[in-house]
Symmetry: C2
DNA sequence: TATTATTGTCACAATTTGTTACAATAATAA
DNA sequence: TTATTATTGTAACAAATTGTGACAATAATA
C-alpha cells in the first residue's frame, strides 16, 4: 500500500528516517450546510482521490505523527483526533496508482522503491470546525478539498472502506465522546446541533427529546439569543462549556 | 519495541519475510472460578512476563497474523478476536529486556539486529473457553500460563498498559458484542453468566434485572436443568443460539 | 395589529430499568 | 415422610428514561 501525502523528500530518499511498512491515513470530518464532508487530495495528472496520509518518523510517537499530518493538511492545531482501526489486508498492496502518481511527476523509481512495498496503515479520524480549517494540498497534489460524504467519488485503493469504518466508529461514539461539538463553530443553536446529529446518524430525531437530552448533559452554556431575521422566535445560542465536561 | 513470541527462526534471520517495525500483541482472556485471566509467557533465565505476540508475514493479512499467533498460543481455531488499538509511543522502544532474552539463549546479536529496533504493535484481544484452551510456550519461553487479571505480576515494557486498554475495550463492548458467551463453556447457568458480567464490570448486578435482560436478547436457548447436588432449586442450563444472533 | 414560523418547555404516554416479593424446587435433616 | 434450607424463575410494582404531542412565547413580516 502506498501512502499520501507523498512529499518529494519522501519519494526521493530510500525511506530513511521513517518507519518502514507503516503509514497513517486520516479521515477529516467537517460539517457545512447540513452535509458531512471529508477532506480528499487529488493528485496531479491522475484522476486519483485519496485520504490525507503520511508516514511515521523514527523519532516520533505514532499519535504525534497523526497530529502532524492533520496539522499539515488543515493548518489547525489541537484538533479532536482518534485512532480507530489499523488496516493491514494484503489486497491493499497495489503499486499501480502510486506508480502513476510518481510518473506524473517525472520521478525516477525502481520496482523496489520503498514506497512501492506493502504498507499497513493506521486509521485516524479528526473532527474540525469547517469554517476554520484551511485545506492545504501537498506538493504532489493538485488540490485538497472538501467532498460530501453522501456523494463521494471513487477513492484510491481501500480508502472507501477506511472512510466507512471511520463513519461507523463516529456513530458508535457519538454520545459517549461528545463528538458533535467538535464539528460545530464556537457557538451554535440547538437546531444546528440537532441537524448535525441527524446527519451523522442518518435519521430524524424528535426535537423535544433531543433538546431535553442535550441540556441534561450539563455541558452546554446558554448565551444570548440569535436574531436571524426570520419571522419566528429567536433561538438561544449555546457554547460547549469545557469546565463542565464530565470525566 | 521487541516482540514475542521470539521464534528462533525469527531471531537468527535478518527479518526477511516479515514486515519490519510492526508487531502484534494479543491479550487472551479466559474466565475460571470467578476470575478473569490472561495468558502470559515467561522467558527462560529472565524474570520477564510478556503478552503473546508475533510478527506479520509479508504474504499474510494483518488479522490473519493475529489469528495465527492466537492459534499457536492456545491450540484453538475459530476464536473470538478483535483488534482494539495500535501502540506506537517512542517510549515502547527499549531493547534491554530483549537483549536479556537473547543472551539467555546464547544467541549472537549486534546492536543493529532487526529485533532491537523500534516496533509499533497492533493490539488484539481474544476470548477463549478456559477449559478448552491449552497454553503452549514458544521455544524461547519457559512457560505459558494463565494469570489472574486482578493480581498481575509486573509485565515487560508497556504490556500493562496494553492489558488495561484491552480491558477497557472489553467493558465498553460487553453488551454490544455479546462478549460474555465467548468466555463460557458451551452450556452455562444464568448465575454463571451473571458472575462473569460482574467480574468484567467489577460491580454487582441485580439478579432479577440481569436475567430479564439476558432473556430479552432472544439469543439464549434453554436446555435441561442442571442438578448440582445443592440443597436448592436446580437452575436451567442455557446455550448461545447462534442462529438467533442479531445482525 | 394579525400572521407566520420557530422555539422553549411542559404534560402525558410508553418503555425500560431498579427493586422487592414470592412461589417453586432440589437436596438434606428431622 | 415431612420440614428446612438455599437458590431459582418470574411476577409485581416503583422509579427513571424516552417518545410524542401540545401550547404559549416571540421575532419578523404583512
Amino acid at each position: 500500500m502506498m501512502r499520501e501525502p507523498l512529499h518529494p523528500e519522501e519519494m526521493q530518499t530510500d525511506g530513511t528516517g521513517f518507519l518502514p511498512s507503516l503509514a497513517i491515513d486520516t479521515v477529516i470530518f467537517g460539517f457545512h450546510e447540513g452535509q458531512l464532508k471529508i477532506l480528499l487530495l487529488e493528485y496531479t495528472n491522475t484522476n486519483l482521490l485519496a485520504l490525507p496520509g503520511g508516514f511515521i518518523q523514527e523519532t516520533e510517537n505514532l499519535n504525534d505523527a497523526a497530529r502532524r499530518v492533520l496539522a499539515e493538511r488543515t493548518s489547525l492545531q489541537g484538533i479532536y483526533l482518534e485512532q480507530f482501526y489499523t488496516f493491514g489486508d494484503l489486497d491493499r498492496y497495489d503499486p499501480t496508482p502510486l506508480r502513476a502518481i510518481m510518473s506524473a511527476h517525472g520521478l525516477n523509481y525502481s520496482d523496489h522503491h520503498w514506497l512501492l512495498r506493502r504498507f499497513v496503515s493506521v486509521g485516524y479520524y479528526a473532527l474540525v470546525d469547517f469554517t476554520k480549517a484551511i485545506p492545504v494540498p501537498d506538493l504532489l497534489a493538485d488540490r485538497c478539498d472538501w467532498y460530501d460524504l453522501a456523494n463521494l467519488p471513487p477513492l484510491m485503493q481501500d480508502h472507501q472502506k477506511i472512510v466507512q469504518k471511520a463513519l461507523d466508529t463516529l456513530r458508535l461514539e457519538l454520545d459517549r465522546k461528545l463528538i458533535g461539538f467538535n464539528l460545530l463553530s464556537e457557538t451554535f443553536t440547538m437546531a444546528d446541533l440537532q441537524r448535525l446529529y441527524e446527519t451523522i446518524l442518518d435519521q430524524k430525531l424528535h426535537r423535544s427529546g433531543f433538546q431535553r437530552k442535550m441540556l441534561s448533559l450539563g455541558i452546554l452554556e446558554r448565551l444570548d439569543k440569535q436574531y436571524s431575521g426570520g419571522a419566528h422566535k429567536a433561538p438561544y445560542l449555546y457554547r460547549f462549556a469545557s469546565d463542565k465536561k464530565p470525566v
